[in-house]
Symmetry: C2
Subunit: 202 residues, 2 copies
DNA sequence: CAGGAAATTGCACTTGGTGCAATATTGCAG
DNA sequence: CTGCAATATTGCACCAAGTGCAATTTCCTG
């Protein structure tokens, strides 16, 4: 009945390959020529599919460029956080959650998450879509905080907490982008968290 | 040379009237039928202009619906803030700045800023544009903080500060929307500021 | 009122995106 | 291996957003 969990059918494998091909083509072309100078038709051609099929995989050109499939935080990360962990200190745990989010955002298996950051830097307009993506996945993060609330009461609304996660992610990206862009984006999280706190308590 | 500052020429008055008419028509229609069921053509017709002229006033349909012309903080507010005021306490001053932003966002003279909130509630997708709008005006807010930094050193990056302004505005809107929607949106600012601080210092 | 600046408009065109029906591909049972 | 059902791809027609350009109209000013 259920196919051997380890090895997916040909169908599924092709689907993933295509998705990857689309994202890869989209990002490559946009980095080369700029967002507006690339059409869906060209991306589709580069990914060896018809333009119509492109829209079977992504809702919009922007989504493809950002490689925004879904927010896939690993089960471990989610469970640990919901249970009140990993450290038990809200601030610290939130920072860790943000790091995980940033990694997930860079793409599941891809190692070139930096491309997304680079594109975002060059096309601030895409941030709109990026926010929309967040909006779409906000409920997941909110749910996470709601569950954690059972384990250990939160000092703020779950919605607010989710927003903080997002803001820290965005701020870390910004700072990484403003700086020399060396190292991991996630390493900026503690610093931006400090800064935000400083403003609100000054 | 410069026309009498008090009374603007017919040209300017018409311009404003048209802008208002467009926003009004756009919001009214969208509230009635939903965002996707309203075309620019219809908005233009309702506002008594040609579709082409519509795009002389707004860059996009979404902008018109949100009434997003420009962020017009009054000169007094800006100057006071840049000079290190009005209270001298960063946290308090930021909260006041957020209130002003929320008012500006609701439209200069219009009293129906609530319509925007209502529309945002019904069409979360528009939040993307809303963020884009913020992105466009971020530099203004950043500049404000940079100037203030001269008067009194800030505990954080100007970019980060600007982000806080935006986040607080958004959070206040959210909370207002989640609640009974009575009273002024700005009244929620202190509370959300508290919550954010609580999360980051827990 | 004449003439120039600025705004409005029509028109043609590109692109993003969707619905639908035909076709091809894959999975699977016998 | 074969045929059948499920699923995916594609072509095609179509709508709506948005832009560039040139013609025309409206406003302002001397």
């Amino acid at each position: 009945m259920t196919p051997p969990a380890g090895d997916l059918g040909l169908r599924e494998r092709k689907k993933r390959a295509r998705t990857d091909a689309i994202v890869d083509a989209a990002q490559r072309l946009v980095l080369e020529r700029g967002l507006d100078a690339v059409t869906v038709e060209e991306i589709a051609e580069a990914a060896q599919i018809s333009p119509r099929t492109f829209f079977n995989y992504f809702e919009s050109k922007d989504d493809a460029v950002l490689g925004q499939g879904s927010l896939e935080l690993s089960a471990e990360v989610r469970e640990a956080f919901a249970a009140g962990g990993p450290t038990g200190l809200l601030k610290t745990d939130v920072e860790l959650l943000v790091r995980s989010t940033l990694e997930a955002l860079s793409g599941p298996g891809h190692d070139q998450g930096e491309r997304v950051l680079e594109i975002l830097q060059a096309h601030p307009g895409l941030l709109g879509r990026h926010f929309a993506w967040f909006e779409r996945h906000k409920s997941q993060v909110v749910a996470l905080f709601e569950r954690r609330h059972e384990a250990a009461p939160l000092p703020a609304d779950p919605e607010m907490c989710a927003m903080v996660v997002f803001v820290l992610a965005r701020a870390a990206m910004d700072e990484w982008g403003r700086g020399d862009r060396h190292g991991d984006v996630g390493d900026h999280v503690p610093h931006v968290a400090e800064q935000l706190a400083a403003i609100l308590t000054a």
